[in-house]
Amino acid sequence: MGKTDTQREFRFDYGLLLSFIVLTVLGILTIYSAGTGGGTAGAGENEYVKQIYWAVTGLVVFILLLFINYQKLGEYAVFIYIGCLLLLIFTLIIGKRVRGAKSWITLFGGFGFQPSEFVKIGVIIVLARYLDRIGEEIKTIKHVCISLLITLVPMGLILLQPDFGTALVYIPIVLTMLFFSGMKYAHLISILIILGIAIVLPLLVTFSSLTGSESIAFLKTLDDTKAVLLVASVFGALSFVFFVLYKVTKKDIFFKAMSIFLIFFAGLALAAVLGRFLKSYQRKRLIVFLKPSIDPYGSGYNIIQSKIAVGAGGLFGKGLFGGTQSQLGFLPERSTDFIFSIFAEEWGFVGSFFIIVLYGAFVFRGIMIMLGAKDRFGSLVASGVTGMFLFHIIINIGMTIGLMPITGIPLPFLSYGGSFLITSMVGASLLFNIASRRYAR
């Protein structure tokens, strides 16, 4: 390839570049503001300096990655996957425990990072490669299951840390990619129903006991793992009966019946597992956003304080360093999980709207890149990256304004934290890579 070719290959998407650069700068500014609180309030006064280092590092990685054709990455998918798994296993062995989760690896010199963030990109590449390879085969249940399995292995390793929030965000990413790879709508809906049952059932019990409403006998049964498993096995047995009937008669109706019972079986079984797995404080944290006032000083505290911060911002905000909710430390985790609340307090509705517009632009550029990618692999990678950004944004901002449970998922480019910032930069770099090479031969 000649020099002119290379130049032609790179069609720089300046709008996209500008939006994430602006977001990163605003993030650094907000982290700086969050750290200026006087006395006891300022948690990490030099966090913004570290964030600048990471942003610069991220930018370097961003630029370096542009020189590698993304299509090459697909070819190394197997190695990337093995590397990811090894990294996660390594984390479980020598990882540093931060906030209860063994999720950090500290390198020499005290420099630490969170592998579970980088693995997101790895899983996206691996899945894209796999889905690209199987093509239309994704319409079979077998390949849907294999795709899910590819995701579930690293997810399981992250759950072992245990970092529930980070593990959870893999689900929408993989579903987005499966969706764009052409999976059957029926399969997607089935998976969503199974997940719905699995998540809602255990939380329903917690919520009803938190609100103090009379726990009806029905709800108590839900809390009993054995009872749930019993019901699940009934559904499972029915499903098997219809499976046999279908095999014998070859009638479509039996297949449909089998599928429905199978969905309920899977949902209930997963609910039972999840119910076992989730500790009561985790359940509380996940459900309290619906009514934070039931536990204003416990699990509801963060949401209440975050909403106060956002609401107190008003139309134009209190100005940089002017937010009392953050400056005086009423808002915990203010540079990471609740960075948006701080920004909203200091810049008001006008500022928050601006951020939403930037993210909106970013996500829609992502979708356009998916559409315009020159190959299926690129399109799938773009969908995974776009999905990752989208769900991070929705879950994080939704959390700060009380629409979503508190899961500790960071906001791309804004939240303090090197691992996810660099991960986001890598993701953005992949999008650029795909976008700029769409005309290349």
Binding site: T40, A41, I308, A312, T324, Q325, F330, F349, I356, I367
Partner: protein
């Protein structure tokens, strides 16, 4: 490598999926913007208020309550001393219920109050913007030291220095002074806009309540910006307002006279009122039983207070103005003035007393057989028979009219709370209130101040003042002056006010005055009312209450100067005629179930008058009275 898309159908499907997927970000971002709009624009002010409550902590700088002085301005009746109060900020309590319970328990133990008291203090005033609640005042310094040393073990517990009300003379004048206490929820609610706050100390009764607006001053406050751990966040402490001390109040009460009155009354249930007829200034108001507010003003000291409220003698009742008694024979003054002023009966006209009066088939007795008596003697010797017959001639409604004209049945308007107005019956009154017609028997009872007529000691004292003052009654009052504590400038000075001008001829008033003098020199109070150092005039009364020993009444004034200074002109202040009545004082006393007026009330009043006019202690006064009685005995034996 598969090239995208393989065929047109797949491409269509892919595009459709893009559209479907796009719904997700569009809807979520719209929802986020809508919620942001609601939070920041619609509910923005509410959330800003909550952010403000989060960060602002007010601490009140209590104003020093005004000092109460007696008329000499030398004797202090109420002042303040520094004390420590323990406060709690429930927001800073441990979040864990078990830890919180333990804290409350330990705090209660330390402060010697019940844990429930603490919880009540916190929950009662639910809307405190100050976040802190006083749970006990007047805490021992050693306990504060303990708290300070162990402040880590008591999160959310603080202390502050606050002024505590002290009444240096214990229970002296307690009914008039009243007492203070922490504002309660109802008072706070009612006075929310008048500068009261959750830590306000307010007057609960007496002068403390009546003049609370003057006494309490204006609390200052400090506004602090605190962080989430309730630590001072900014060095900037906004001294929002400096406290303004309350104004000092100077009473008309003479502490020495008050002391004498209370000592002489002793532990007899009753009341004494001493005042200056000339101005209406009240020199003393004694009522027994009394109470000592020092023992319960500090919060968390409720035992004594409870025992007071349970006492069936009602120690909180200021009997001088809040108790209503039958007037008894003192009411004869009213009838006598009706006789004189109406002109219906000549004062020289004599009625026959046969130890009583036969009306129809009922015999209304007199306390002795007076023979033929005119008005003057009827007053002097308190002849019931005369007044029975005079009253029948006058008719009840005329007497009623005069009683009202002389201030009975109405509040005197003294600047104290809870004054009762008494009852002056009439035929109409009886029809309305008793639902019965007026009988002649009622008239006879009315004539001697029995039956339905009820008066307060202060009303009879004011009536006495009217007699002294040639028919003019000055409005009684206890607050003479209010001065700024800072500058000493007079803010308010009470001028004597005429309450009633009876417009009764001065000669007629003088007639009654002379008769009252004769009550003391030769009448019913000759023994009981004997005084050595001054010349007194008075009227006894034995108020009957069915089935019980009579209430002993006596109302008197001194010095008696006859009518010789009066020129006939109406001049209560004496400025025109040069008559000097400024030194005249009137004393009215009642002892519940103290027997006849001459038995206990008259000696009580005489003793007080002797101590005042003889300018001596009570022992000397009693000696002087004894001398006087010997003198009287000798004169009678001659």
């Amino acid at each position: 490598m598969a090239v995208l898309p393989a065929d047109a159908k797949t491409k269509e499907d892919y595009k459709r999926r893009i559209y479907i997927f796009s719904i997700l970000p569009v809807l979520s971002f719209i929802l986020i913007v809508v919620v942001l709009f609601i939070l920041q624009i619609v509910q923005g002010p509410d959330y800003e208020l909550r952010a403000k409550t989060n960060r602002e902590q007010f601490s009140i700088l209590p104003a020093i309550r005004g000092v109460i002085y007696d008329r000499s301005e030398k004797s202090i009746l109420a002042y303040n001393r520094r004390s420590f109060a323990v406060t709690v900020v429930p927001q800073n309590f441990p979040k864990d219920p078990a830890d919180k319970e333990r804290l409350v328990h330990e705090l209660a133990m330390l402060l010697d109050i019940s844990g429930q008291d603490i919880l009540d203090s916190i929950s009662q005033k639910s809307y405190s913007k100050f976040g802190s609640y006083i749970i006990k005042t007047d805490v021992a310094f050693s306990d504060i030291v303990f708290l300070a040393e162990h402040n880590r073990d008591f999160p959310g517990v603080y202390w502050k220095s606050i002024p505590l009300r002290v009444l240096p003379n214990r229970d002296l004048l307690s009914h008039v002074l009243g007492y203070v206490g922490l504002i309660d929820e109802r008072e706070l609610f009612r006075n929310a806009d008048k500068g009261y706050n959750i830590e306000s100390v307010v007057g609960k009764c007496g002068i403390e309540k009546m003049y609370d607006g003057q006494l309490r001053g204006k609390d200052g406050y400090i506004r602090r910006i605190v962080d989430a751990k309730n630590q001072l966040a900014a060095e900037v402490i906004d001294r929002g307002a400096e406290p303004v001390p309350g104004n000092n109040v100077i009473l008309t009460i003479d502490k020495e006279i008050q002391r004498i009155a209370e000592t002489v009354l002793g532990e007899r249930t009753g009341a004494v009122v001493i005042s200056k007829p000339h101005t209406g200034e009240v020199l003393a108001i004694a009522s027994y039983p009394r109470f000592d507010p020092n023992l319960f003003v500090a919060k968390g000291n409720t035992e004594y207070f409870k025992s007071l409220t349970l006492d069936n003698r009602k120690p909180f009742l200021n009997r001088a103005i809040q108790a209503q008694y039958p007037a008894g024979s003192i009411f004869k003054i009213v009838v006598a003035l009706a006789v004189l002023d109406s002109g219906k009966i000549a004062p020289e006209k004599e009625y026959t007393c046969g130890g009583g009066y036969q009306m129809g088939n009922r015999f209304f007795s007199c306390w002795m057989n007076h023979g033929k008596v005119d008005l003057h003697d009827a007053i002097t010797y308190s002849c019931d028979s005369y007044f029975y017959q005079a009253a029948l001639a006058l008719g009840p409604d005329l007497i009623s009219k005069y009683a009202m004209r002389l201030g009975l049945g109405n509040k005197t308007g003294i600047d104290l709370l809870g004054e009762m107005e008494g009852i002056v019956p009439s035929t109409d009154w009886k029809r309305e209130n008793i639902k019965d017609i007026w009988y002649d028997g009622d008239t006879l009872n009315f004539a001697i101040g029995q039956g339905y007529v009820l008066v307060t000691p202060l009303q009879l004292n004011s009536l006495t003042n009217l007699i002294v003052n040639d028919g003019v009654m000055m409005e009684p009052f206890v607050v003479k002056e209010i001065r700024s504590a800072k500058s000493g400038k007079t803010i308010y000075r009470r001028d004597p006010r005429v309450l009633i001008d009876s417009k009764i001829d001065v000669e007629n008033i003088r007639f009654v005055r002379e008769a009252m003098r004769h009550v003391v020199t030769e009448g019913t109070a000759m023994w009981g009312g004997a005084v050595w150092s001054t010349e007194m005039a008075g009227k006894t009364s034995s108020a009957e209450i069915s089935g019980l020993q009579t209430h002993s009444w006596y109302t008197a004034f001194a010095p008696y100067r006859g009518g010789k200074d009066t020129s006939g002109n109406r001049d209560p202040a004496g400025s025109k005629t040069g008559r000097n009545d400024e030194d005249v004082i009137s004393i009215t006393a009642i002892i519940e179930q103290g027997g006849a007026g001459s038995e206990s009330a008259a000696p009580l009043v005489a003793e007080i008058a002797e101590a005042i006019f003889g300018n001596c202690d009570l022992e000397t006064a009693r000696k002087n009275i004894y001398k006087k009685r010997v003198q009287i005995a000798n004169r009678r034996n001659q």
